[in-house]
Amino acid sequence: MRLPLIAFILTLAGPASAECYADYKAKQDDPLRLAYGVAQVPDSACDPGAAKNELAPRLQAGGWTLLDVMGVFGPEGLAERKDRAGEFFLRY
């Protein structure tokens, strides 16, 4: 009776913790362009410092320079940021 319950809780918690997102600020030079975006980061990098290391090369590949990672959050934070991030919502 207990084991299945624990297993159920784990299966619920598993996918939830796998979905980690970070919102960031980035720029392009000449002319200066600024961007606010949201990106998914792997579980292992689910804190601002690690997300920074994770995101910087990805953005660099897209021609953007990472300025700052503002924070990390779960899927529940996506909706309120979708509008603000615009074209940079889950782009990189």
Partner: protein
């Protein structure tokens, strides 16, 4: 009289030294000012960096806010173009300032030198700028004024001029010796003195000739003109 000539040339020499030093100082000061100006003018990226800071430090993340920040940065960039033209204008103005300061320094030194020369002229009463002895025309040209002389007076003047060019002072006996071709020991001091007197008389104005053919006590006679103005034709 000698002291005046040398002081005139010395003034000219020190004047040249001051001009060279002054020009160097002016160029150095203005070059330093130019370097200071250019290194302190902000470049185009200074404005972009400020906007970037604003973006990082504040919670300006909506689309409209980001667009506004970008427009701010663009106006800064266009201002930097204006700044580049300012640099050129400032540089040209610095060049003008250098030229004007050098010119005014040269004029200043010239005025000082001229003032000294004028006071020297005022003191000496007569300044012989050129003395040309023409044997053929039996005349002496002093500052382009022609004075007709007798053969003997011209001879005396020529002897004195040659002595002056060698920086020599001749006694009356020596003058007589050179002109007559005899030994100085056999010549009479009075004979030379008479020649000098006749030359002075021939030149007419006693004051002017006294200034021109100078008597140095117990040594003899000498032309009171700078060596480099004498020409013989």
């Amino acid at each position: 009289m000698r002291a005046n000539f040398s002081s005139a040339t010395e003034a000219l020499k020190t004047g040249k030294g001051v001009v060279a030093g002054g020009v160097l100082a002016i160029v150095a000061i203005l070059a330093a000012a130019a370097v200071f100006l250019f290194s302190n003018l902000p470049d185009a990226n200074a404005f972009n960096a400020k906007v970037e800071r604003l973006f990082i430090e504040n919670d300006l993340t909506t689309n409209a806010e980001i667009k506004l920040l970008e427009i701010l940065a663009q106006s800064g960039t266009s201002f930097s173009d204006v700044l580049a033209s300012y640099r050129t204008v400032i540089f040209v103005l610095l060049l003008f300032a250098t030229a004007l300061m050098v010119a005014s320094l040269v004029f200043l030194i010239t005025i000082v030198a001229l003032n000294r020369r004028i006071s020297a002229i005022q003191r000496s009463g007569i300044q012989v700028a050129s003395l040309m002895i023409s044997r053929e025309g039996r005349a002496v040209y002093i500052n382009d004024l022609e004075f007709q002389l007798t053969e003997a007076a011209l001879e005396t003047l020529a002897v004195l001029a040659e002595a002056r060019m060698d920086d020599d002072v001749l006694t009356g006996a020596q003058i007589e010796a050179v002109i007559s071709g005899r030994d100085a020991a056999d010549c009479d001091e009075a004979a030379g003195a008479t020649r000098v007197k006749r030359l002075r008389d021939a030149l007419g104005n006693q004051l002017v000739s006294e200034l021109l053919v100078k008597t140095i006590a117990r040594r003899g006679y000498v032309l009171a003109v700078p060596r480099d103005v004498i020409r013989m034709v």
